[in-house]
Amino acid sequence: MLAYIARRVLATIPVMLIVAFFVFSLLYLAPGDPAAVIAGDQATPQDVERIRASLGLDRPFVVRFTEWLWRIVQGDLGVSIFTNLPVSHMIAQRIEPTTSLMLITIVLAICIAVPMGVVAAWKAGSWIDRAVMAFAVFGFSVPVFVTGYVLAYIFALQLDWLPVQGYTPLSEGFWPFLENLILPAIALGSIYIALIARITRATMLEVLAQDYIRTAKAKGLGSRGILFLHALKNAAVPISTVIGIGIALLIGGAVVTESVFAIPGLGRLTVDAILRRDYPVIQGVVLLFSFVYVLVNLAIDLLYTVFDPRIRY
């Protein structure tokens, strides 16, 4: 097992290298010019050229990529073209809000979606099942930003229960921290809840049709025991796979949610950087996201062995 983990961790290195190359190439090929953004509308073409040269953007692709890669190897993500701050510092400032939002969303989604899916499967064909599926279709169909605006309108503007926007770090108190993340987590989690609930229902339906469940019922085990101890554990592998895949969904959704609720996270940092063509920041954030995604997949693979002891690496 340890050898497998070590192999998988080492395998992230070539993956990251490929990602790094693609990110750098795409940015190199993509149109846009940070020098022109910096210079402003009154600048002459000569001013823009001078700024481009001062930023080193006039140098060949290979030179820029090699330098960047060498710095990455040394743990240096570079400096933002615009803010002149180290990219690692900017990411460090933004990582807490995004991590908090994603963790709360995942916990919320699992706590809501898994029981929903289990109950829907248990009561398959009933009004409960139909209600859960209707909710799932609704969750899939409504874009995150619409859910966000509606929630903010109802719970912040009309009822004044929660703030419209912003983020308060955990260090400034638990309630202020949570207060700012409740609406964003529900908005971001709606698609995720729908996804997990549907998969849980489908997988549970399959498991509940197995012979051993019938045997358990024949032995007189209670519904709760059958559902949560025997059936759910066997359905956990596909559910955890979907949760892992959903992390990518969350990263994409976080970009929108952070904009709607003005949360200073990595999603907004990415969008701002892309609009300005702040290359070092884009490269740093995309590398981080891909690294996290690789690690999440590794964690999910390892979780399989917990849910299903037959799986060995």
């Binding site: 149109p31 846009g32 010019d33 940070p34 022109a36 953004v37 910096i38 210079a39 402003g40 509308d41 009154q42 600048a43 002459t44 073409p45 000569q46 001013d47 823009v48 001078r50 700024i51 001062s54 933002s80 615009f82 803010t83 002149n84 701050l85 900017m90 400032q93 933004r94 605006y149 903010a152 309108y153 912040a156 503007l157 009822l159 004044d160 229960w161 929660l162 703030p163 419209v164 926007q165 912003g166 983020y167 400034e172 108190g173 638990f174 309630w175 202020p176 207060e179 904009s259 709607v260 609720f261 003005a262 200073p264 907004r268 940092l269 701002d272 609009l275 300005r276 063509r277 702040d278």
Partner: protein
């Protein structure tokens, strides 16, 4: 009692149970904290390195200026006690007033001013003209700055008082930074100190009142002139990129002032009696179309001129700013309405007649070449103007390839001199602050110096000749006459087309008193 009060009570209870309580703006009383949503997220905080208006506004808080301009663009001493002219106007000596200090406690010296001037005037067009007129600028001692001019240059002091992207005084150690490199030390001598330690890019910028700032003792606060008296102790710039969220936050009282509410949200805000929606800066902005004069069909002056006949400025400015007549002006030429150089010369070319324009385009020799129109998608005013003008171009018979792209891509594409079919462009729309169109000295759109000119690179020697005549003139009446000639010549050669003037609205909570018109400044404001 509202539900939220109950929740807050719960939070207080939790705090007593050992959880830390939220910091309320670092212990500053609520009515001494101003929460402001700027027009965008200031990427850079160096107002020389970038000309972004949001960075200019940051600069006005943190830095002070030698001279200020009032709303009528009259010049008043600010850090300067005054100046004297010697040697028939060929030498100008500016004396600093007493008590000026930087935020680090060091006194402001003439050497700091000289370094700031020489950094700034390498980048700013108006500053560059002053630099070209100057043989030498030196610090005579700690209090006096001497300009030795090549010839008397009456625009020197107005140049130093330029309100938009003007001269900010920095410590010499900071101002020695190459103007094409960013500064990293934000020490100024303005009324507010930037708290770098609380800066989270994309979320918040914090300023605290500079206790040692000494405002000028007389005058009335107006634009960048007069006493800069701060009635709040802390200003927080909250970055809210989503307009609906900013609107909700303003209505909920989570913010006090939103610099640029989007036009479609303004009616919602106007209905709220706790919110004031008003014109922020009467100088406003001018929407403009620009042709690439290097390639067909717009290398043909007659084709360019023919387009003017189709333009209805009202269509453009209403699309940009809504149909409130207080928010726009039509019948606008190449100078900012309401300022001395504004005139009506050549405006009869705007016939608002699509059929006539179509015929004129054909008669001018248009041969069906593809017209690449760069249409930005993420900057509201240029987007609206481009969409209106893109439709006009189709109606008057151009084979228009309207290419929608983000603003960053427009900025890159417009610098390409390649033919339109090979990554170049034919036409684009943008907006300029009224301060950039005050006179021929600062104006970029009525130049005709070919390769050196603004994107589009028109080569119109007559425009340059007229500009030189204007620069040589010191008589206002003569300057106005020449400005009218320039406008007529610019509408004849048509390197671009003025598309109308509009004024940006701002929105703030009614308990803010003393918000000044013009560039958003924060002195004089009281929060009730």
């Amino acid at each position: 009692m509202k539900r939220r009060d109950v929740l807050k009570g719960g939070a207080a209870l939790a705090a007593t149970a050992g959880l830390s309580a939220p910091a309320v703006s670092q212990g500053v009383a609520a009515n001494r904290v101003l929460r402001f949503v700027p027009q965008s997220n200031p990427g850079s905080l160096d107002p020389v390195w970038t000309t972004a208006y949001v960075t200019r506004n940051h600069g006005l808080l943190v830095y002070d200026m030698l001279y200020g301009s009032d709303a009528e663009l009259n010049v008043h001493p600010q850090m300067a006690a005054g100046h004297q002219e010697e040697d028939g106007g060929r030498t100008v000596v500016i004396t600093l007033r007493d008590g000026l200090k930087f935020h680090d406690g060091e006194p402001v010296r003439a050497a700091d001013c000289v370094a700031s001037i020489t950094r700034w005037w390498r980048r700013d067009p108006m500053g560059q003209a002053a630099a070209a007129a100057t043989d030498e600028v030196t610090a005579l001692d700690d209090k006096r700055i001497r300009f030795r001019l090549k010839a008397p240059y009456p625009r020197l002091i107005p140049t130093l008082a330029k309100p938009s992207n003007g001269l900010y005084i920095m410590p010499e150690r900071v101002a020695k930074t190459d103007p094409f490199q960013q500064i990293t030390d934000y020490t100024g001598s303005g009324p507010m100190r930037f708290k770098r330690e609380e800066w989270i890019t994309g979320q918040i910028l914090v300023y605290e009142r500079f206790a040692d700032y000494v405002p000028v003792s007389s005058g009335t606060p107006s634009l960048t002139a007069g006493p800069k008296v701060m009635n709040v102790d802390r200003i927080e710039w909250r970055i809210l990129p989503d307009p609906a969220t900013a609107a909700a936050a303003l209505q909920a009282g989570e913010i006090d002032w939103w610099e640029q509410p989007q036009v479609d949200i303004q009616p919602l805000l106007r209905r709220n009696r706790n919110i004031v929606v008003d014109v922020q800066d009467p100088i406003g902005l001018i929407s403009a179309l620009r042709f690439n004069t290097l390639h067909p069909p717009f290398d043909n002056e007659a084709v360019r001129r023919a387009v003017i006949a189709a333009v209805n400025q009202e269509d453009v400015v209403v699309a940009i700013n809504g149909n409130d007549p207080a928010g726009y002006t039509t019948g606008v030429g190449w100078f900012t309405p309401g300022t001395p150089m504004a005139n009506e010369a050549g405006l009869d070319a705007f016939k608002k007649n699509i059929a006539a324009a179509r015929e004129a385009v054909r008669a001018a020799g248009y041969r069906g070449e593809k017209v690449v129109f760069l249409g930005p998608t993420d900057i509201l005013a240029p987007k609206a103007a481009s969409e209106v003008m893109g439709d006009v171009f189709r109606q008057i018979g151009f084979d228009t390839d309207y290419q929608a792209m983000d603003w960053g891509t427009v900025l890159q594409r417009r610098s390409s001199k390649q033919p339109p079919g090979q990554g170049g462009w034919s036409v684009l729309c943008t907006s300029f602050a009224g301060y950039d169109f005050l006179d021929p000295l600062v104006h970029s759109q009525i130049r005709g110096h070919g390769d050196q000119a603004w994107f589009g690179w028109p080569n119109v020697p007559k425009l340059e000749e007229l500009r030189n005549r204007w620069l040589a003139s010191t008589d206002l009446a003569e300057q106005k006459r020449i400005a009218a000639e320039i406008q007529a010549a610019a509408l004849q050669a048509a390197p671009g087309i003025p598309l109308g003037h509009y004024k940006q609205f701002t929105a703030y909570r009614r308990n803010l008193q003393g918000v000044l018109k013009g560039i958003p400044v924060f002195w004089n404001i009281r929060k009730g």
